[in-house]
């Protein structure tokens, strides 16, 4: 790790370069960095030469092999999906949960189960539509269902800012649902030399993610077309549809994905992780199957938890066909290649990968 970098460096290297993912890792750990909607900024330089904010950021030096070691105790052998123990398809057994969910309802079912059985004391999850199209990360300590946290949104919310707030209040034994950049930041926090409450996060469910939209751009695009306060669900049906469907009380609106893609955050273009490679468990959609999820179990803790959940009848599972697995690997590898290309385009230097540090083997595969 490079030493001696501070909030000013973060501003220079990340914020001003449009690289911030709004994960929230740097928010609520000091009074100087704030988030509103999906916008994070250093309000005032703190004057220190070294800071947690810089170290925790998923877009400052991120050494994949070092993170592998700290999370899994060993480096990866699968370069497209990262370390994992098993991959299968899963869905929530509870049809009510499944009904509210975007796909198989696995995330909701697992978090509810973890909370109900006291395996975690609280959960940091995201309510996809908080009054309007902006999602909100929330801390829940009791029932999950009533909060309307199921479903997907395509705008990032600063989940780790909420987690920082929770750990400041002394919460430990937290479960967290996050997208890949948030999971990376969380793991950087947990393996950092600094004092942080992030070690109180005991269960990490990572979501698959291909990109997020900028709140400002996307909400301005929708304004006048859709009543933002009435949005209930946003979905991108599998190809070749090439559309985004915005469901509202007044009916569905369909937009060409080409139009929507204009609002993809620039930082998503340099993202190397589609499947939340550092989570305990990763969950995503299965292309072409509406009511099942892909479930990747990665850590021993994750395996233990899933085994219990299966035993408790929380989820159904079935094997993921080889062709689907290959397809998933293909998609993840494509994202990595694109990220590496985008980074090299930014730096205009084939060897300079900005924040990313890859092992020689990985470089060989993706450079």
């Amino acid at each position: 790790m490079e030493a001696g970098k501070s909030s000013s460096d973060l501003e220079l290297e990340v914020f001003s370069q449009d690289l911030c993912t709004s994960c929230g890792a740097c928010v609520n750990i000091c009074p100087y960095i704030k988030v509103v909607r999906d916008k994070v900024a250093v309000i005032e330089p703190c004057g220190l030469t070294e800071g947690k904010c810089y170290d925790f950021c998923p877009r400052t030096l991120t050494d994949i092999a070092a993170l592998d070691k700290s999370v899994f105790g060993k480096t990866r052998t699968d370069f497209s999906l990262g370390p994992y123990i098993s991959i299968e398809m899963a869905q929530a057994k509870d049809s009510e949960i499944r009904c509210r969910a975007q796909y198989g309802g696995v995330v909701s079912a697992l978090m509810k189960y973890a909370l109900d059985t006291g395996q975690i004391g609280s959960a940091v999850v995201t309510r996809p539509f908080d009054g309007a199209i902006m999602p909100a990360s929330v801390l829940v300590e009791e029932s999950l269902q009533s909060l309307g946290c199921a479903g997907s949104n395509y705008i990032a919310s600063a989940t780790l800012a909420r987690m920082n707030e929770a750990t400041k209040q002394g919460k430990d034994s937290i479960g967290l649902v996050g997208i890949p950049c948030q999971v990376i930041a969380l793991r950087k926090m947990q393996s950092s030399k600094h004092e942080t409450g992030a070690r109180g996060v005991k269960l990490v469910i990572g979501l698959f993610c291909t990109w997020a939209l900028s709140y400002k751009g996307f909400s301005e695009f929708l304004k006048g077309k859709v009543d933002l306060s009435q949005v209930k669900r946003i979905d991108i049906p599998p190809p070749p549809a090439n559309v985004m469907v915005v469901e509202t009380a007044a009916g569905d609106m369909r937009f060409s994905l080409d139009e929507v893609r204009k609002f993809i955050r620039p930082t998503c273009g340099v993202c190397y992780d589609m499947t939340s490679e550092f989570a305990d468990i990763s969950v995503g959609m299965v292309e072409g199957i509406q009511d099942w999820n892909t479930l990747i179990v990665r850590t021993p803790a994750g395996k233990k938890f899933i085994d219990k959940a299966k035993k408790a009848g929380v989820i159904n599972t079935r094997p993921l066909e080889q062709t689907r697995l290959e397809h998933l690997k293909q998609a993840s590898s494509t994202k990595k290649k694109r990220a590496v290309d985008a980074i090299r385009k930014r730096t205009n230097d084939k060897k300079n990968l900005l924040y990313l540090r890859l092992s020689a083997q990985e470089k060989k595969k993706f450079l």
């Binding site: 009074p31 100087y32 916008k39 220190l48």
Partner: protein, 634 residues
Amino acid sequence: MVTIELNQPGKTVLMMGDEAIARGAIEAGVDFCASYPGTPATEIPESLARVADRFNIYAEWSTNEIVAFEAATAASLAGLRALVAMKQNGVNVCSDFLMTVNLAGTNGGLVFVAADDPSAISSSNEQDSRSYARYADLPLLEPADFQEAKDMTKWAFEVSEKLGLPCILRSVTRLSHSRGNVKLGELPEKKRTAKFEGVYISGAFVAAQHAALHQKLEQAREDFEPSRFNFYVGPRKAKFVIVTCGSGWLYSREAVAALGLEGKVGILKIGTTWPLPEKFIIDHLKNVTEVFVVEEVDPFLEQNLKILLAEQAKTLGPIEVYGAKSGHRPPFGELNQDKVITALTSIKGLQARTRDEKYIEKAKEALTYIPPRMPTFCTGCPHRASLWAIKSALKLDGRDGFVTGDIGCYSIGAGPAGFFQLKTIHCMGAGIGLANGFGKLEKFGFNQPVIAVCGDSTFYHAAIPALINARVNNSNVLMVVLDNGGTAMTGFQPHPGSGCDALGRPAPTVEIENICKAIGVEVRVRDPFEISQAVQDIYDMLQENGPRVMVFRRRCFRIEAKEKLQKKYYVDQTKCIGDDCGCARFCSRVFNCPGIIWDQEAQRAKIDEMVCTGCGVCATLCPRGAIIVRGAAS
């Protein structure tokens, strides 16, 4: 009992200059007083309001100076005696009416007090309002001490009544706000009733009216010749004479005494500085070869005197004039005896006066007693929270947005107290006026968001036309009204939103948000102490187009703390992390409320309970929750 209402003619009392002016008005039997607060004039109407019931005076805080002046003029037109007082900037606000009421004329005595603030101790500009007298062809009186402040005010009503013109009385901060001995005069029996008669129109036969005005001014000149406020002290046949007026009189007298020049240098003190008592001056300059003009700020007397000397060259012969033009007195900044002494020393080729060594040492030591700090907001001031919220929102927005400032306590937000947020400051109302223009520059590639901040009193005073302009021209501007419930900077006088009048009696209110709604602009109201919500609101409003208004409403906390007991806070120094990452002394270094200090020994923050008002904002900002209410369970 207030000193200014004492019914003891002949008794000498200590009075502030502004009180002396108020007493002079009372002795003249003033009936009507209207004003807008402004330093250093505020205590004149305030003093009159305090005794309004006793002397049957109508006193009001008007919405702005020109309304005050017009209202006071109405009283004059109805045959009453009226006074309007304001700071120099207010004179500018009045100027439109001033340049027509001079032609239309007045009836009952109308005294227009212009209180200038040399060195801009409490102002956004330095201005010598005396030029208005020459500009508007109106009589001008300049009191030189406290007694004259009272006596001249009384006389000013007579001057006004005789000429049918407003009479301008000019004070300066040093006179208005110092105290000196004043011998009281008789309190009059007042029996005036108001009745309007006649026609007062400026605009018909203007040139004829202007000619008549010049005649009135000539009348004033004649009346001023024998005035006891013009006098000479010093040796007969002095060759060197100081010509002075206003505050220059006492400085000159002290300088002459300090240099032991009483036998050589005369002082010609002029109280009626426009129009000049020409005969009186010529009489006293007959044997003089050198003149030093001592006055504060502009060379007003100096230039008028030079014209007179040129006209009288044949009679008076060549006279060397020292003053601002010659470089012996700076035509800016407050005057003092040292400046006069230095000038006299240089003109007369005297040995420079040296200070006593001990005095210099003591003075140096005294300087160390002054805490080294920039002007700051009071403890608990809502402006600190508001400007922090604005700074945060602008930073989050990230488009190099900026704030156009206005006149009020929040003006010091241009400095560290307000995190350097205000980038323009001019006159009252200029913040929103400028923002109007910035908000229309889109087609020239301008994409910076603009926030106009404006105080509540300023909103009523000067901001409404600009807001209407923003609405009809659809200017992209976010106006933030910093509503602390009164005209705080001048001592929390009521304004149209306060719900009470100048005498403290209940009055109807005009709500800022209702005005905004009537204009048709989006308006939100928020407590700036709810800082994160305030940041989000401002951020969201910055994303919108067209004119928008946010009212940050939170009563001045000094007033709040005076009226009811507030919570006591302390820093749990075991929780405070001081200089470490995660805080780096945010409260005492950045947010910088004077109620929080840095405990050098413990290297932790500490509440200064002597000055903390208990607003609690720092407790919400402390990243460690280390700032705690005393007595509360932690």
